[in-house]
Symmetry: C2
Subunit: 516 residues, 2 copies
């Protein structure tokens, strides 16, 4: 064994030993401990954010908010454990009269084992050492070993020490550093599942290592997303442009849910009518013009790491020399050192379609492509060819969700008559979007992922390697659980969740009927 | 494109077109159609079983029963659809007062797309064209393309034609034949997930093909299982031996759940004391003796295919020459042509541990290894080293499940005082078994998998490539579903399952509370 192998071996074995006790700890006790971690994170907020700011340049407001979000994730999973539904207890009583006779079968979820988590660069708290993968795995009853992101090693160490103080055994959260640590970690025989948030290249490499195991284990990776936005003709151009520019440049564009493609109606004159940076462009139309103006008024910033910075510049360069793609607008760099500028490009729908799959690839940072369409009926065929995304967004004059409720004082009404545009404007694209992305957003922006029961943060490859699962929200716990069915098991050996008297009061499905 | 590529392309495109309508069909209508398929299978029972018998030699009784089981799977999934819980509807209302303000988010499951199913050899109905993968995918709203098993092509064609007559569009169930069909099928861009039941080698090859896709899709494979049985000292040797021999030889041992390892207390004299077939063996003890006698009294039969027959003979040959492994008993071949004989080998626990991982590999057919232990406390360390299994079984004097209920007139009682052996006899091994296998059986046998709500047919690799999921029972539908979250979506465009007025009456989790 090399040095790093020995280190990983020690950390994983300790985690496995701590995990054996943790998995036997009742869910209600685990809930209380998760709440203690939330308290500890908030208690150390004033120490945590400056260390992260020095490493990531994300700023006080954002980082304080992110620690709050991270703490709230621990609270959500405490709620999930108290609810008990994640055990998915199912009881089928014996039916000796059936053909063939049916045994007593009871099933519930158990922790999968030690979970390896690869931290992301862009959320030094919410998708890192104490992030969604870690908290959902701890909630499931698993020990966790995190491979720290090289972009914020000190934040990682400090976070781990804060979390460990609130855990019954510090070995429940292992932390390893360095590129070389990834291989031995995912190859370790005691690691039972892997969570990853990062790039397509990084995720594909880890998947390759896992597949070389004698027992390939589950890999839950979030590898990239272009997050298309579809602006329907009825939408308000000024509002769309302002919202888009803000979402595009949030956190210097370094969000998994950054809107990288925006489809807008083109101007009345579809012919080529101008020249921008050596590229001939068609008449802009009010949407394109408004978006160009809004992005031109934005300011960029410093990116998370030198590698991400270089990757962004390369991606933008590739776009700027591509035939048919015109530079629409460039924001300001701002005054910080090594700042990058927001950029938007523009391309007609047909040229975009010809440029797939390359033009559908994520460009990590504050850059996007404005795709101009003539008729909404031209969109489905092109949208079907996009890679899987975490989100897809629709903008329209029709109001949705919160807007509907607010306008109607809690009562939702059909606004077709008022607005001149009805939901049927979106009818052809919605079925396409439902197969393209894990979250569909109406008249909003994809950046910002609510940590709730209903949230789904996933989608077809490359948004997720396991599209049936989510990495944010209550259902994220499922990735770290495996069912066990007990057939004709003695009452005295059954977990309490599966007993007929249901002492823990968990939701049970009994003989086919769900009892909440 | 080659000839087979063109064939696959046509079948998959037709399935995708039929699937687009099927996914939009309300769940209640899909339920009625599934029941129609069940009726059609039973109506054609007298035609179906003889075709399968000619191809598989499994006999009338077994094959009639298997068609019945297959029909009952269609009925179970009709029940699942009418229940509505598989939609997993979750509603979080907006909270404008939260920090940050929370949007309205609603999530439910949608069909993943066209599913490719690789049929198994050993259940020409229940794990083949109309088997568990197909019915659960159809129930989910997916079209299916089955790669027929080469062991029963005519049964496959006949089954497909029976099922298609009961479907609204025959293209919902595609069927392709031949080894060459597998590659183009799993590589096809319109195929969204793959189900497989078969060998470790076959499954690994298909996984490799999927991983070469630009968008690797989910692969749900069941690749092999050795199904250990742990006989505790309190168990009744005669009953164990009789039950084991029957389970081992059921269907000429060609069950995924065939018990391939049985751990028994060794005799009082642990020293070498005999010689059998050139191998020195230790004193048998009553368990080993009883098992040897029971297996010697069994009769084998003809296996499903020449390939499986040859594989069985090779595996048995490898065992018979292995140092430390003694041949314990051989059954009769019987009178049918090409019959194989049941065989049991015997090995002390220490030699078994030394022979891992090879001695822990599945030998597909009526062969098993009897592993003799001195003390139950020696078992956990060895059990932890076994590969993942679909099942693990415990035999003990303590009664479980159905037995408990029957004895107590429905009232379960703690029988420690009566039996002399308590559940604590199993206390050390149960936590190990919960991580080793997906289904734990008490005083029963693993062959026979009840098709119910609570069933779990899965486990760590190689039992399953996706240990969070099952291929039998109501939860099997999940493999073919992907969640979509709708954020601030207009009421008029929401699926009925996610509306506040819940017109379909499905179980919903609303603002964190489950409502059954």
């Amino acid at each position: 064994m090399t040095g790093i192998d020995t280190v990983i071996d020690t950390v994983v074995e300790r985690a496995a030993a701590a995990g054996a006790k943790w998995r036997a700890t009742p869910a209600a006790e685990r809930a209380t401990i998760l709440e203690g971690v939330a308290d500890a994170l908030l208690k150390h907020l004033d120490e945590l954010w400056p260390v992260a700011d020095a490493e990531t340049h994300l700023g006080e407001v954002r980082l304080r908010g992110e620690v709050g979000r991270t703490a709230s994730q621990f609270r959500l999973f405490a709620e999930v454990l108290r609810d008990g539904g994640s055990a998915e207890a199912v009881i089928d009583h014996a039916d000796p009269g059936a053909t063939p006779p049916r045994p007593d079968v009871r099933r519930m979820n158990h922790p999968v084992g030690v979970v390896a988590v690869f931290a992301a660069s862009n959320f030094p708290f919410a998708f890192s050492v104490a992030g969604g993968d870690t908290v959902s795995a701890l909630a499931a009853g698993c020990a966790v070993v995190v491979k720290a992101h090289e972009g914020h090693p000190e934040t990682s160490d400090l976070t781990a020490s804060v979390v460990r103080q609130a855990l019954p055994d510090p070995d429940l959260l292992g932390l390893v550093h360095g590129f070389d640590a990834g291989g031995p970690l995912v190859r370790h025989s005691l690691v039972s599942a892997v969570g990853f948030t990062g790039s397509l290249a990084g995720g594909t490499a880890i998947k390759g290592l896992i597949d070389q195991r004698p027992d390939p284990i589950p890999f839950y990776g979030e590898l990239g997303s272009v997050n298309p936005v579809i602006v329907l003709p009825s939408a308000d151009a000024a509002a769309v442009a302002a919202g888009f520019a803000a979402s595009l440049t949030l956190g210097v564009g370094q969000f998994c849910t950054n809107p990288g493609l925006i489809f807008v109606p083109e101007g009345p004159d579809g012919d080529t009518a101008g020249d921008a940076g050596g590229h001939r462009v068609r008449d802009a139309g009010e949407f394109e013009r408004a978006i160009g103006d809004a992005v031109a008024a934005t300011t960029g910033g410093r990116m998370l790491t030198a590698k991400i910075h270089d990757g962004y510049l390369r991606a933008v360069d590739r776009l700027s020399v591509r035939a048919g793609v015109a530079r629409l607008a460039t924001g300001a760099a701002g005054t910080v050192a090594d700042a990058v500028t927001p950029q938007v490009f523009s391309v007609p729908l047909e040229a975009f379609a010809d440029g797939l799959p390359e033009l559908g690839e994520e460009c990590f940072g504050p850059a996007a492509i404005v795709v101009k369409y003539r008729n909404p009926s031209d969109l489905p065929a092109v949208l079907r060819r996009l890679p899987g995304s975490l989100t897809a967004t629709v903008h329209s004059a029709v109001q949705g969700g919160a807007q509907e409720a607010a306008q109607a004082g809690g009562q939702r009404v059909d606004q077709r008559a008022d607005q001149g545009a009805g939901p049927e404007e979106a009818a052809d694209i919605v079925p396409v979007l439902e197969r393209l992305a894990g979250r569909l957003i109406w008249n909003g922006w994809p950046t910002g992922v609510a940590v709730t029961w209903a949230m789904h943060h996933g989608g077809p490859w490359p948004a997720s390697t396991a599209p049936a699962h989510t990495s944010v929200g209550a259902a994220a716990i499922r990735r770290w659980l495996t069912p066990v069915a007990y057939q004709d098991w003695p009452e005295a050996l059954l977990p309490p969740e599966l007993r007929d008297d249901n002492p823990l009061g968990v939701p049970q499905r009994v003989d086919g009927r769900l009892r909440a």
